[in-house]
Symmetry: C2
Amino acid sequence: MTDQDTLSVNTIRGLCMDAIQQAESGHPGTPMGIAPVAYTLWQRFLRFDPQDPVWPNRDRFVLSEGHASALLWSLLHLSGVRAVDADYEVLGRPAVSLDDLRAFRQLDSRCPGHPEYRWTSGVETTTGPLGQGVATSVGMALAGRWLADRYNRDGFDLFDFDVYALAGDGCMMEGISSEAASAAGHQGLANLCWIYDSNRVTIEGHTDITFTEDVAARFLAYGWNVTTVADANDLDAVARALHTFRAETERPTLVVVHSHIGYGSPVEDSPRAHGTPFGEEGVRSTKRFLGLPPDERFHVPEAVREDFARGIGARGERLRTAWEERFEAYRRDWPAEADEITRMQRRELPEDWEAALPQFPPDPKGLASRDSSGRVLNALAERVPWLLGGSADLSPSTKTRLTFDGAGDLEPDEPGGRNLHLGVREHASAAIANGMALTKLRPYWSGFLIFSDYAKGAIRLSALMEIPVVHIFTHDSIGVGEDGPTHQPVEQLAGLRAMPGLLVFRPADAGEVVETWRAVAALRHEPAALVLSRQALPTLDRSVLASASGTARGAYVLADAPDGAPQVLLLATGSEVSLALSAREELAAEGIAARVVSMPCWELFDRQPREYREAVLPPGVTARVGVEQASTFGWDRYVGDRGAVVGMHTYGASAPLKKLITKFGFTPERVAQVARDVLAGREQPRSAA
Amino acid sequence: MTDQDTLSVNTIRGLCMDAIQQAESGHPGTPMGIAPVAYTLWQRFLRFDPQDPVWPNRDRFVLSEGHASALLWSLLHLSGVRAVDADYEVLGRPAVSLDDLRAFRQLDSRCPGHPEYRWTSGVETTTGPLGQGVATSVGMALAGRWLADRYNRDGFDLFDFDVYALAGDGCMMEGISSEAASAAGHQGLANLCWIYDSNRVTIEGHTDITFTEDVAARFLAYGWNVTTVADANDLDAVARALHTFRAETERPTLVVVHSHIGYGSPVEDSPRAHGTPFGEEGVRSTKRFLGLPPDERFHVPEAVREDFARGIGARGERLRTAWEERFEAYRRDWPAEADEITRMQRRELPEDWEAALPQFPPDPKGLASRDSSGRVLNALAERVPWLLGGSADLSPSTKTRLTFDGAGDLEPDEPGGRNLHLGVREHASAAIANGMALTKLRPYWSGFLIFSDYAKGAIRLSALMEIPVVHIFTHDSIGVGEDGPTHQPVEQLAGLRAMPGLLVFRPADAGEVVETWRAVAALRHEPAALVLSRQALPTLDRSVLASASGTARGAYVLADAPDGAPQVLLLATGSEVSLALSAREELAAEGIAARVVSMPCWELFDRQPREYREAVLPPGVTARVGVEQASTFGWDRYVGDRGAVVGMHTYGASAPLKKLITKFGFTPERVAQVARDVLAGREQPRSAA
């Protein structure tokens, strides 16, 4: 460790302490302990150009222990990383100025409490919820290997980036990281390196009180390469471990680094170092210990900036500019492939992608929306090579397998395959999809809607990060039938709809499925959840009903009252739209004029201008019935004070679908009766009580 | 393997095949493969009396691979397990008759698609969502050891039961099982045995395509005892492995059993065996292979019933009656302890528990609801010895630590401790709490509200099973402050409220916290979620405001218009109730009469008679404003067509709380302005659009 190394490492520590002390809030312990490791990685290994933080072949650095954000802000500042705008254009200003650091954890600062993707450039993924970063890194590494397999050519190693994730004890305890580590081991992701910051201290105390497993042995069992660094302050040992990673060609690598939380501070090795500023005097005494001027704040010697410029700065610029030259040559030899790469980086699709969308003729028998979705997905994926994904061991049921020639399995011996076997690991599946999306692929993953619960943490992050992941959920209601209440979603739709930034689609038939995919494929900065049926749904005859293109507006008048003046509105989604149409006929036979509104995507409908919304749901028509095989929670917004909802108030039951439909009242007769009741002003129960 | 063993095992297999074929739905593969193991366990080891399936010291059998329910139904039928009612009283009728088996997966059958607790006696926990069963079994084993430590006395080994869980490849892949296994290894639960049915086949194919880790090595890393059975059909080898478990005194045991999915069927070792009936001809050919009469359905030779009666039946009855005699003697020597055990089994509390509840004087500064809840919890737990729990590494923040003398840590060297260190393992934490509740303890666990997402699967099971777990969630809004949007819940409240059977409480002050705990402690068959603030909340002066006892009705008029005739209703929960009170004063100064309704528990309010609900929310007063620092999703039910909601439409931000309150509009001025707008009929946006 040279004097310069010492000065640079301790300058990082000083910035972290100062930022946290200034904010009187934050997590100083981790940055103090792990700064030398991060410094070594950034300065000696990371192939990252601060001048172009979105260069496609950059190594990725994921701070999975996101509470150590001050460490990342300090690194971004010292290496002079530039800002990018929301469309990934590099800007002149720095990602993190010294003033930003001074405003750590303050409103609108570029240095928030945890790293936030798309808010501060250089942040590869939003972290904080433990385990998410490491799991997401697996998706990045899979994507990197996939890009290499698809696009690299003799003499053109366009993609060979590595993915590093820095994780703490908490990350290692979360189930999502176990799932992801098992998947990464199976995939043999030699481009993936997790650095386990083992300081053996968590919020409740020493890990002795709850976490006494042998983590290294566990990762060996997953098929990982494991190496250990006895002292985080030993930069050469850290470098040796990272060289071991870079030399490994068949397995992901875990570097176990023994560190000291709050190193150098009065609370070193104590849980108090985790989430509490050291206090003015604590900061001063720590600075003295580290040989920093105790009374200077946000102190950055020019030699430290120069150090970073010589290290990561010079290496990154050299590699990035060489890559750009290589890419220009590649474009001459491989123009179509180069065009794909460019489109992908901009989150655009091939010109003619919409031409791939199939059509479905009217068919009273119809097909399940999982089936029609599978056909649309296959057609789209054949046209969009970087649309790929997999299932949490349910592809035969979710129908998401790509079956066209050359789709293949994405496996260690076929890294360019298009079908991922994600295993019974829903949470990691969603996080892996996030990682692939962050690498600019267009990923999807699938499972049963009920198991969206297991993946909730990662679904939320896709929405918070505004990345276009497609979460595909089938078996979307009591339509599951005999598997019973453990497998029948009830409240999941409401939970997903309540999530800001997630578009939830529940299409009514194959026509709406096509329009759903048309809307979803075009998304650049939003994730979507597709909620699809297990059972067959009639393909509606659009020559007598409205076009399915209304899907793009979230809700539309599917079948109107004869004179456009309905007495009652029947609002439905998915499998219940046909039910509403039947009820409408029953009411028509009695001379009651009902309008059926299909509402495949509430979020898109809520974004429409008031005129459109009121044209679909006329304020004057207060007799309204919502119909959905799901919790009624959230429906009041559309059915209003005088309306009613035919929905679920309890869990489901194990029985054939037809029996369940009768038991829970999803029949045309019942819907029509509720419509009559509403018209007559008879109160309908809104809740389970 | 005797001829009788063979006949009994194959009779089980025949019943499973017949039930599934009759239903034309179900999962035959697993029962065919693992039947000999289940048979050996039940016949030679399980200390379970079919005559009294709720005997407190019975060994627990958890079918974590719940899709193999036909196996459990067959075992319950053949061993003659009796039904119990919802209050755990043993009934005369069998839990599972042959007619029930014939009605497998039909409406109202005692043999649903997956095992459902409280629906079929002998089911120790609801399973089906993979990984939940094994994780829950950890809670049962912890509870068993806790009971032994607390109640056993010299000469009175009242509690020494073992917990067995049968798990498949899917269970082993789920993150929740990794979390639970790590926790169980740390706790050294020698009374816990997981049997891993390793058939290496999942829905998408052979586990080679995604699950190639060394499971045995992984469990050794967790600190488990691991043993292997090479052939599931080798009953003696199975028995040797289970003897190994019973001889182990310091570690949980994993028995890895190599089995063949769909054993004996035409689809043996194929994914097709998993979830598809074999077909009439497939069943016949399999029966021929097994030496069963191919054309007889639901065939049970009398010798098989006798076999079960001699095995599990005789052993169970002997052990249970001996235990009852022992317990009667114990009651004479240790009457107070015996009384506790009896109350616990009935889910009752000590007589005088309510006297323990503290009171909080009015205090404008007040305290965080996490703090007041911690004080109430401590007071209650001191009075109710079997109220215990822990935190997912957040007890210093969630304030759930029990601090009175003797509370102690629940650790291997102090198995009767009251404070569990659950580690950063939210999903397993909730499942472990479920397991403790299923063992009739009164458990709680705590974490930040945002991380309820991670535990969703297990929270849902507590509601589906109707068990009184207390899920304690603090840091309940943007009140989290600087940690930012990754840690600020927005949509979690809506998601929990949408869950049938879960009572969600968000108390407004210490007074409501006390009343919340009064309601929650008395629950016998319902779980509750407590949603508590990080920041201080004023303790309201109930001498000028209504009593907090209104909490028991879910919502109540806290402060009314002077003449009881409000122009506008301000509805709020938790930290926003005081905000509503301030807005009310501001409006009063302008001569606008506002009523403040505190709504700590929507579910309880919805259960009130219409008269009460309309007294609180008069239908004639349509000017209403809901105020809650959470997604507005679900509020329309209460604010109605002409109302408005001051809530969250986006994710939060990283900044000090005061800045966030202004940024997101949670000020008295804004609430008062929205109230004026509503009174004036100006439309308010309901969604993010």
